[in-house]
Symmetry: C2
């Protein structure tokens, strides 16, 4: 079995769905109401924005409700609790995100291009999904473990895809054979998260320049080639 097979297997294994421990699926969303599903999304986005700004513990249900333009008490029509709101924000978009990552990893293209696509995907997520990704990175550990299983699962999937891609790069002779794929995967995620947070904070930063610089650093390092 080749490493490409490995990646394809990982990529095609459907993400486990259905009730995960502590997930408490939103019954309303799966049933009749029409308007509900849409407004629930708005609620998640409002929560994401507020959590991103004030942190989980610093954000009140009042704040989130205000962001949505409804009364504090009404928020409980969409979330059973403030904690559940955090959970849903953390999970929001991560699904899509991991799926996108799978497509990138499976695609047959030069390693450098793949790395750039991965970084682009990671950083673009910060600017598109608004604040959900930032909240995921910074606040998820405030969730009790029971609520984190799905998030952890998605994160592990993501990291494994990255590691497999790195291994593939080594086998293809593109990457150094002596790197630790686990370490490098974590580092890439670390750099991306760090710049992702900067991108959100600082409007003057250019997304595409940042992507290029990140790729460049990870691939080529900083030492002069002539030495």
């Amino acid at each position: 079995m080749t490493h490409r097979d490995n990646i394809i297997n990982l990529a095609e294994k459907p993400v486990a769905r259905g009730p995960v421990a502590g997930a408490e699926a939103d019954l309303r969303a799966e049933q009749k109401p029409k308007k509900y599903a849409h407004k629930k999304l708005l609620a998640i986005e409002a929560a994401a924005k507020v959590f991103a700004e004030k942190g989980f513990h610093g954000a009140t249900t009042q704040d989130i409700a205000k962001e949505m333009g409804i009364q504090q008490g009404s928020l409980y029509y969409y979330f059973k609790s403030r904690e559940q709101a955090l959970q849903e924000v953390c999970e929001y978009g991560f699904d899509v995100y991991v799926e996108r990552m799978k497509k990138i990893c499976v695609k047959d293209q030069p390693f450098e291009a793949k790395m750039m696509a991965i970084i682009t995907s990671h950083l673009t997520n910060y600017s598109h999904k608004d604040s959900a990704m930032k909240v995921h990175n910074e606040q998820r550990l405030y969730l009790p473990v029971e609520r984190r299983s799905r998030i952890k699962e998605l994160g592990t999937n993501y990291r494994r895809l990255l590691e497999a891609t790195l291994t593939e790069g080594i086998n293809a002779g593109v990457l150094r054979a002596d790197i630790d794929t686990h370490f490098i995967a974590y580092s890439i995620i670390g750099i991306c998260n760090s710049w992702g947070a900067n991108l959100i904070r600082d409007d003057s930063l250019n997304l595409f320049e940042t992507i290029e610089q990140c790729s460049d650093l990870i691939l080529y390092g900083t030492l002069c080639k002539n030495v």
Copy 2:
């Protein structure tokens, strides 16, 4: 003026002390009491630990007092407010830290060794100063701007030292001439903070291996040299 001169100048300019806006120096600590100064340090460390675990907004004065083994109300003997405790935790150790950085940057040694020393210093800080550095990284933005001036100043000093060292590396022909020192400096800090947080969380991680791997990634990147 050479770049080395630049660094030396930076390194020898004494860190601005005295009352910074919003700093509200702890009068008690500067006056007579003997036991006070010592126990105040314990208070800062207790606060650091609790803030690191629960986040600023998630940590109560009760939690901090309990960590110190005193009553909730007694905590106010050491801090005027919970917010001031956060400020002091964020500043704690950073002084020493920047001083250490200056010494490293000024010292005449091969660039690779310097980079390793810088990373060692940054990561060691995480394991020694317990949680203060983590709190600084994750929670300082919850402080109102008035309380952040000193912290910002120290951070800028630190980053400038790093940038100057990188520039020096370029001029010495060791580093690629086309890197953006500002970008690389931020990235180094990002990687270190990301691994620093991992080190605190995961006991099984080896500090020295992590240091070597970080240096290696930043200097050499991941691409195979033969390509």
